[in-house]
């Protein structure tokens, strides 16, 4: 809360009159805003502003940075919703967006936009509507892409407001409607400029309805007369228009200019790049624009003009003249050509005179048209005569080496225009006419003024020229024009006034009609009539009286309303109100003029305002003024160098409003109210309010226009940059040309040298040719020689070949010889060997011969001996021979036999071997077969085995079943047996009770009987056995007890004891307990047992009941014994039955059975 209070204090301090405090507080707020991101501070600021309209707060709000924009917009959205605060909020919004904050793109998403649109659709207050529409128009170029969503809202608003203009619902005053109309016109313009296709289709659909037809005829159609066909209508489409990509490329001022381009309205239309506006227009428009901007202030200017203009003008003049002491002829042509040769032509005297524009305009202008202009130049130039020098000096003062500076200079001059006009309107008009007569006095002034206008236009033209790049054509034309001018200067003396007047007349006349200089304007009109021949459409139009033009150029009206005297103003206004057919933003000026009638703003500010269309050069203008002041040594009275003209204007309007409200009762109001009442019939109080509202509307309009102008300024700046660049490029071109020339020279030199070189070359070639031919001949000779040598060498080679062949042959022969030698050697060795052999053989032969001799001798000896013995041995020998022979034969046959046998045996062996193999094979087969068979058998065996297994299982099952059945049977039997036993015992006990002592023996017998119930007989030896069999466990115990009890029968019982024990030991083998029962089993089945059972069957029914009874009735000892016996007996019997059905072996059973039978037999016998 402390903070809140603090803020409140600070807010109050904001409005303090001390400037430093204010600045400090503003700084504090800004710091807070940067530190705090919350909406609180912004909200309080907005609240405070809406309450107090505090300027510092407005300044803070308009410079809000990014994070706070949302709060601001939200807050404003909130207030727009409320009818009371709507107007002030809208104006705040206007202030904010006009400054184009960095977050302006967010506007399209902000909820404020729809609520603004809604407000425009719903509200009925004209002031709010006008303000809102202006805000909307200002906003549209910033958020062009939002058209997609809100396009129809825009159109609806347009439709509604346009019909409003006509129908005037409620009691809306006409004065307000004028504003509304103007704003609707602007909206029309903006919408048509931005979304032509959509808008046209909207118009088509909306005004095709009959009820809207009148509106169309009355309101929309006149608007449409001021626009050209939008090119987008041809090339674009509805969707393309709304495409965000299209808008992405364009900045806000681009959009504004785009919209301006399509206007035929000279105030609106762009003339900068010859979009499609004819050059005449473009040439003329500068004046117009200047005119238009001035027109709102003309009134005020008028009021103070007389006082202020003269010093100013003089100062201005001096500013020009003081630096311009350089010789003009030198400065103008010399400085220019240095930098920009092509531009030099621009700076012909005619240019200086300010009439250059039409001729310098691009080639679009037909030569015929340029002619009159040239004439004009001529005349003006001539008219100026001597003063020509002074204007020419104006460029040099500044360091004019760049086009930049050039522009700068032109601008100060432009700023100088308004005072000039002012002057003219007031007093300079006659001076103009007197120009020729008084060149020394007025001339410079006039010149400076005209120059200003010229430079402005010149700049335009220059820009256009650059854009079109038709410099050369222009140059030619200009040169022609200049020459013509020069020729005509002397001749045409009276003429200069005419074009000048015609040229200037549009605005002069505009501002004049109502004032005493009307006559002069008429004269101007007359003069202008001669200009009619020229294709200057507007000037043509303006030649006539004001009224016919009103429909065409809205400017005319305001100009008309801009007359100095209030009375004239009134008249004009009334006439306006009656004939508000053409919507024009310029209708406001009249009112403004009326509103400002009493205001006393410093004159300079307005001058600045006038200069502001070229705000880019505002700075320069200031500078020049400063220079001025220095030069003059004194400052202008109301000049405030530190505050910007815009601020000053705002302040002026507000002060005016304040003053107005303050002095309502005093000065001007009565007369005005009288006038108003006279015309409008509304009471004064109402009048005050309406005036105030008008003021407000006017302010809004002014702000809107200013915004537009700023956009233009932005664009101008950019275009200027382009100009500079173009100039630089041209310079560069020139440099390139120079270089080109140099290079051409070089090329020529090179060509000459080339020729020389060629000649030398040909010479050399000839020389070379001769050498070559020589060399050729040499070569040929050498070749010939070479061939000869070659032939020789070939011959030699053939010879060589022959020699080689010969050598080879010889070698072969040598080889052959060698081989022959070898062969012979071999033969020789063989022969020698043979020789040696034969020698040895000879020796051997000799030896043999000798032996032969010896043997022959021996033989002879033997023969002798034989012959001696021959007679007896021959027979024997023959016998032996025969025997030998026989023996030999025998042996031979034997051998034969043996051979044969061998053969046969061998065959046999073979046979046997094959047999063996076969047998082996067979054996294998047999084995295999055996395997098979084995397998087969095994298979079968397995099957059989499985069958056997199955059989075994079956038998097992059967056995099980049998045993089961047995066990079941046994169980049944046992149970019955037990029952029988018990009943028997009971009976016995009863009997015993009846007869005391005998009963004892009886009971013993009974007991024995009961125990041996199976065996049936109750004989003395029996009971022991029976007891043994029945009470196998308690056998010992029972016997002892029974012995104790039945003393008379002790011996038999004792006798039986061992027996039973012996039997027991025999029985002990199979199992401990079962044998008894099992043993008793067959006995129960035996004949005796059956009988016994039959005997007791009847009692068995009541057994259960009696059992308990008998037991209780027995004497204690007996009872316990019996109880024990019965319990012990029953339990094993029962337990044995269940779990062990199978163990009993037939043998033991059989034994038992046999034993039992034996026993019984034994006992029987």
């Amino acid at each position: 809360m402390a903070q809140q209070a603090n803020i409140g204090e600070l807010l109050s301090m904001l409005d303090s009159s001390v400037l430093s405090v204010r600045d400090d507080v503003t700084a504090v707020f800004k710091e807070n805003l940067t530190a705090d991101r919350g909406p609180m501070l912004v909200n309080t600021l907005v609240d405070y502003y809406l309450e107090t309209n505090s300027q510092p707060v407005l300044q803070i709000l308009t410079t809000l940075q990014e994070p706070h924009d949302k709060h601001l917009l939200d807050k404003m959205n909130e207030y727009v919703g409320k009818a009371a605060s709507r107007l002030s909020t809208l104006s705040l919004l206007g202030h904010v967006i006009r400054l184009q904050p960095s977050w302006k793109h967010k506007l399209s998403q902000a909820p404020l936009l729809p609520s603004l649109l809604k407000c425009l659709k719903m509200d009925t207050d004209v002031i709010v509507l006008t303000t809102g529409v202006l805000v909307l128009i200002t906003m549209l170029p910033m958020i062009p892409q939002s058209g997609k969503q809100h396009l129809h809202d825009f159109f609806d608003i347009f439709g509604r407001l346009s019909s409003w203009c006509l129908k005037k619902p409620g009691h809306v005053t006409e004065i307000y409607l004028v504003h509304l109309h103007a704003s609707v016109y602007a909206l029309f313009h903006r919408l048509y400029g931005m979304y032509p296709c959509n808008f046209v289709s909207f118009l088509r659909s909306h005004y095709s309805m009959k009820e809207n037809l009148e509106t169309f005829e009355e309101v929309v159609k006149p608007m449409m007369e001021h626009v050209r066909i939008h090119p987008e209508l041809v090339t674009g489409s509805k969707d393309h228009e709304l495409d965000p990509r299209r808008w992405k490329k364009l900045e806000t001022h681009d959009v504004v200019i785009e919209c301006a381009k399509i206007s035929l309205d000279p105030t609106e239309a762009s003339y900068e790049d010859g979009y499609s506006v004819s050059h005449q227009n473009s040439a003329r428009f500068p004046h117009r624009s200047a005119d238009v901007t001035t027109s709102p202030y003309v009134d005020t200017q008028n009021s103070y003009g007389i006082a202020a203009s003269t010093p100013y003008c003089t100062s201005r003049l001096s500013s020009f003249s003081s630096p311009g002491q350089l010789p003009p002829t030198l400065s103008a042509p010399s400085t220019r050509p240095l930098t920009e040769p092509p531009q030099a032509t621009f700076w012909s005297p005619s240019v200086v005179c300010g009439m250059t524009t039409p001729p310098t305009s691009p080639g679009n202008v037909p030569p015929d048209l340029s002619h009159p202009y040239s004439k004009v130049f001529g005349t003006t130039a001539g008219g100026k005569g001597t003063p020509l020098g002074t204007p020419a000096t104006s460029p040099p003062p500044a360091p004019l080496c760049h086009s930049d500076d050039y522009v700068h200079i032109s601008l100060p001059q432009a700023t100088a225009v308004p005072p000039r006009k002012e002057e003219r309107t007031d007093s300079a008009r006659p001076c103009l006419q007197r120009q020729h007569h008084l060149p020394n006095d007025r001339g410079p002034e006039e010149l400076s003024g005209s120059k200003g206008s010229v430079t402005l236009s010149d700049l335009q033209v220059f820009l256009g020229n650059l854009a079109f790049e038709e410099d050369s054509i222009e140059k030619d034309k200009e040169e022609a024009a200049i020459s013509k001018e020069l020729s005509e200067i002397t001749t045409a003396d009276a003429e200069p006034l005419v074009p000048r007047g015609g040229f200037d007349s549009p605005f002069y006349r505009d501002s004049l009609p109502g004032c005493p200089r009307k006559t002069h304007s008429a004269a101007c009109g007359a003069q202008g009539a001669s200009v009619n021949a020229e294709p200057l459409n507007s000037s043509l139009d303006k030649l006539g009286p004001d009224t016919p033009k009103q429909a065409f150029t809205p400017i005319d009206l305001p100009c008309g309303g801009a007359e100095g005297s209030p009375a004239g103003n009134r008249e004009r206004q009334t006439s306006l109100q009656t004939s508000i057919l053409t919507p024009s933003p310029c209708k406001i000026p009249p009112q403004k003029g009326a509103g400002f009638g009493s205001g006393q703003p410093p004159p300079y500010d307005h001058l600045f305002e006038v200069a502001l269309p070229k705000t880019a050069h505002h700075f320069v203008s200031k500078k020049t003024e400063e220079l001025l002041q220095k030069a003059k040594g004194h400052t202008a009275e109301d000049y405030r160098p530190c505050s910007s003209p815009v601020e000053v204007l705002d302040r002026l309007i507000q002060q005016g409003a304040d003053a107005h409200s303050r002095e309502l009762n005093k000065l001007s109001l009565p007369s005005k109210s009288v006038d108003w009442t006279h015309f409008g019939g509304s009471p004064p109080s109402d009048e005050i309010r309406s005036l105030r509202n008008q003021l407000l509307l006017l302010h809004n309009q002014l702000l809107y226009e200013r915004f537009k102008r700023q956009q233009h300024a932005v664009r101008n700046r950019r275009l200027l940059r382009k100009v500079i660049r173009a100039a630089a490029l041209e310079e560069h071109n020139a440099a390139m040309k120079d270089q080109l020339k140099l290079q051409e020279k070089d090329i020529q030199i090179w060509k000459v040298s080339l020729q020389r070189e060629q000649a030398r070359y040909s010479q050399l070639q000839e020389q070379r040719d001769t050498v070559v031919t020589q060399l050729h001949s040499q070569v040929r000779q050498l070749q010939h020689d070479r061939e000869e040598f070659y032939n020789q060498s070939q011959e030699l080679q053939t010879k060589l070949e022959d020699c080689r062949n010969m050598v080879a042959e010889l070698r072969l022969q040598l080889k052959k010889a060698n081989s022959k030698v070898c062969h012979t050697e071999l033969l020789l060795s063989q022969v020698s060997q043979k020789l040696s052999n034969s020698e040895s053989v000879q020796q051997h032969m000799e030896f043999l011969n000798r032996q032969l001799l010896v043997l022959g001798e021996v033989n002879e000896l033997y023969l002798e001996q034989l012959q001696n013995k021959h007679s007896d041995t021959t027979k024997e020998v023959e016998m032996m021979k025969a025997a030998y022979r026989k023996e030999l034969e025998k042996n031979r046959s034997h051998v034969l036999q043996q051979n044969q046998r061998l053969d046969t045996s061998q065959k046999r062996i073979l046979e046997l071997e094959s047999h063996l193999a076969k047998k082996d094979h067979l054996l294998l087969e047999q084995k295999k077969y055996l395997e098979d068979v084995k397998l087969q058998a095994r298979g079968q065996l397995q099957a059989a085995e499985s069958r056997y297994e199955a059989q075994k299982r079956i038998t097992q099952v059967f056995e099980l079943e049998v045993l089961d059945l047995y066990s079941r049977l046994e169980k049944d039997g046992l149970l019955k047996k037990l029952e029988e036993e018990k009943t028997e015992a009971a009976e016995a006990a009863e009997e015993r009770l009846d007869c005391c002592n005998d009963g004892c023996s009886d009971s013993v017998t009974g007991h024995s009987e009961e125990a041996s119930g199976h065996n049936g007989e109750a004989k003395p030896p029996r009971p022991g056995i029976a007891r043994g069999s029945s009470g196998s466990r308690g056998g010992g115990g029972s016997s002892s007890s029974s012995s104790e009890l039945s003393t008379p029968e002790k011996p038999p019982s004792q006798r039986a004891g061992p027996f039973s024990s012996r039997w027991e030991s025999a029985m002990g083998e199979p199992s401990s307990s079962i044998p008894a029962t099992v043993g008793s089993l067959p006995s129960s089945k035996s004949f005796l047992g059956m009988k016994a059972r039959e005997l007791f069957r009847n009692k068995s029914e009541s057994q259960c009941d009696e059992d308990g009874m008998t037991i209780s009735s027995l004497p204690e000892a007996l009872k316990t014994e019996l109880g024990k016996d019965a319990g012990v007996e029953a339990k094993p019997a029962l337990t044995v039955d269940g779990p062990h059905p199978s163990p009993p072996t037939p043998d033991s059973v059989g034994q038992l059975r046999i034993m039992d039978y034996n026993e019984t037999h034994h006992e029987h016998s």
Binding site: D932, L935, Q936, A937, R938, G939, Q940, Q942, A943, A944, S946, R947, E949, A950, Q951, R953, I954, Q956, V957, F958, L960, E961, D964
Partner: protein
């Protein structure tokens, strides 16, 4: 191979084109002409689908009900028949079965008797292994007409499961997971996320060999492989079932639902499942080579 010369020379092309089982009958006949059958029949049965007319014979041989020699077939068969009638008679005697007893139960009791597990009373509740037997018997009853054959085949089939495959059957779930992971890991992960892997009907699949899960016409093709000694085919049938019904299984999220669905899979696509499963089996385990 000797029978190759006798086989239709086009058979190779048939197989290439994709007609399978065209020449099987003939080659099987050739095989059956041999005196010792066993091994080649086993390979044949693994490789090709058996013609239904020879199925019972082949199964009997493979299961050892008939010896490999033709000569002893009749004798062995008479043994088997006698054994059957003996056991049946015994059961009648002990009044375990009567004429009214369903055939499947008769088989069960006979089997129990032969294996010595006959309960004390027919009214005793069935043990789990008996349930398996009953399921297999039910399926087998549809496949084999003759009751003696049927009983013997069931008996030997179950014995084979209990003896030969005793060790490998518990491994099958793991193998199943492995192959399913190979074929479709996403499905397996789905099953895992549902924690249904452990709850799949492994009993139905591997213990009962899909008896009651697949219709008999397709089941017998699976059992061909089982009888011929490869129980891995069961894994592939299971995998193939999951693959076939993948979409439905993926749609189910709880293990119970999946198990329930898998226990009652639709029967219409079973033939395709089995064919694919056999292909899959061949793919992963390789086509069994003829043992020549």
């Amino acid at each position: 191979m000797t029978e190759d010369s006798q086989r239709n020379f086009r058979s190779v092309y048939y197989e290439k084109v994709g007609f399978r089982g065209v020449e099987e009958k003939k080659s099987l006949e050739i095989l059956l002409k041999d005196d010792r059958l066993d091994i080649e029949l086993r390979t044949f049965s693994q490789r090709f689908p058996l013609p239904s007319m020879y199925r019972a014979l082949v199964w009997k041989v493979l299961l050892g009900i008939l010896p490999p020699h033709h000569e002893s077939h009749t004798q062995v068969m008479t043994y088997r028949k006698e054994q059957y009638s003996d056991v049946l008679h015994a059961l009648r005697v002990v009044r375990f079965v009567s004429d009214a007893t369903p055939q499947v139960e008769v088989y069960l009791r006979m089997y129990q008797l032969e294996s010595g597990k006959l309960p004390r009373s027919p009214s005793f509740p069935l043990k789990p292994e008996d349930e398996v037997f009953v399921a297999i018997a039910k399926a087998m009853e549809e496949m084999v007409e003759d009751s003696v054959d049927c009983y013997w085949i069931i008996r030997c089939f179950v014995n084979q499961l209990n003896n030969k495959y005793r060790d490998s059957l518990p491994q099958l779930p793991k193998a199943f997971e492995q192959y399913l992971n190979l074929e479709d890991s996403r499905l397996l992960s789905h099953l895992k996320t549902c924690s249904a892997v452990s709850k799949l009907p492994y009993d139905l699949w591997f213990k009962r060999c899909f008896a009651g899960c697949l219709p008999e016409s397709s089941l017998q093709r699976v059992w061909d492989k089982v009888v011929s000694g490869s129980c891995k085919i069961l894994v592939f049938v299971a995998v193939e079932i999951l693959l076939t019904f993948k979409i439905k299984v993926m749609a189910l999220n709880s293990a119970e639902k999946i198990t329930k669905f898998l226990e009652n899979i639709p029967q219409d696509s079973s033939d395709a499942i089995v064919s694919k499963a056999i292909d899959l089996w061949h793919k992963h385990c390789g086509t069994p080579v003829h043992s020549a």
